[in-house]
Symmetry: C2
Subunit: 144 residues, 2 copies
């Protein structure tokens, strides 16, 4: 075993810090929260989709999805309607204005991403991505 895992500990700490520092800056730079933008991105790709399908894509709690969508509906970014074939489902769809607004969020986001990964070569990015992927797999294997 290694020396009481100080290097390992540091990495976990860093991952945490990165999230904590990046997340609020992302919101300030792009003008929208990450979760909400993810929701909109999915909607952008698919025309119309049911809430649960959306929830599975974005991987946040269905209660949270409901609340986000209600707010987005108020802002007229999104419309919702029941599936006429099965009234349990509700379909969600971007409005035209919503679709337009996303484009601007998108460019803000891309600029933000570029800043975060400044000075990373493509090779480095691939290496990093692979390592992160391995970490994700390790986490999945952990039994709670």
């Amino acid at each position: 075993m290694k020396n009481s895992c100080s290097e390992e500990e540091k990495i976990l700490f860093q991952l945490n810090e990165i999230y904590k520092q990046m997340s609020p800056k992302f919101e300030r730079c792009t003008g929208i929260s990450q979760s909400r933008l993810e929701l909109l991105h999915k909607l952008f790709e698919v025309d119309e989709i049911s809430q649960t399908a959306l929830q599975k894509e974005v991987n946040i709690d269905s209660a949270a999805v409901t609340r986000h969508l209600k707010q987005l509906e108020l802002k007229e970014m999104v419309t919702r309607r029941k599936n006429p074939d099965d009234n349990r489902f509700t379909f969600v769809k971007l409005t035209d204005e919503g679709r337009e607004k996303i484009a601007s969020f998108r460019s803000e986001k891309e600029e933000f991403i570029r800043k975060v990964l400044k000075d990373f070569s493509e090779q480095e990015q691939t290496k990093l991505s692979n390592m992160l992927h391995r970490i994700q797999n390790n986490i999945e294997e952990i039994q709670y």
Copy 2:
């Protein structure tokens, strides 16, 4: 410019997912939240410390620090007293029971960390840590 930054985007996405997946598992495995354990760790190292000093170490909002410490005080993990030389400051200190409990949290945490970084050689860990550090620096430079 790269191809609409899909690889870069993926990395940001991964960092996010890792946090979202790791954080709740950490809590379930160790029995305590990351922030709270960080607070306790600092207290473990320093005997007695003022709240603002603690807040700066842990890098969460002072309002959150106050609320955590109040709860930890209720659970008798921690004691608080005013600095007699300057009543604005409050000093925080682990109780003896608190100190004991942390030991067990610690070993749970170390086991968790080991699982997350399973199959990472020391060399890989160093590489990863360096890259994460560069990302942190990049984030710091971003103007909100």
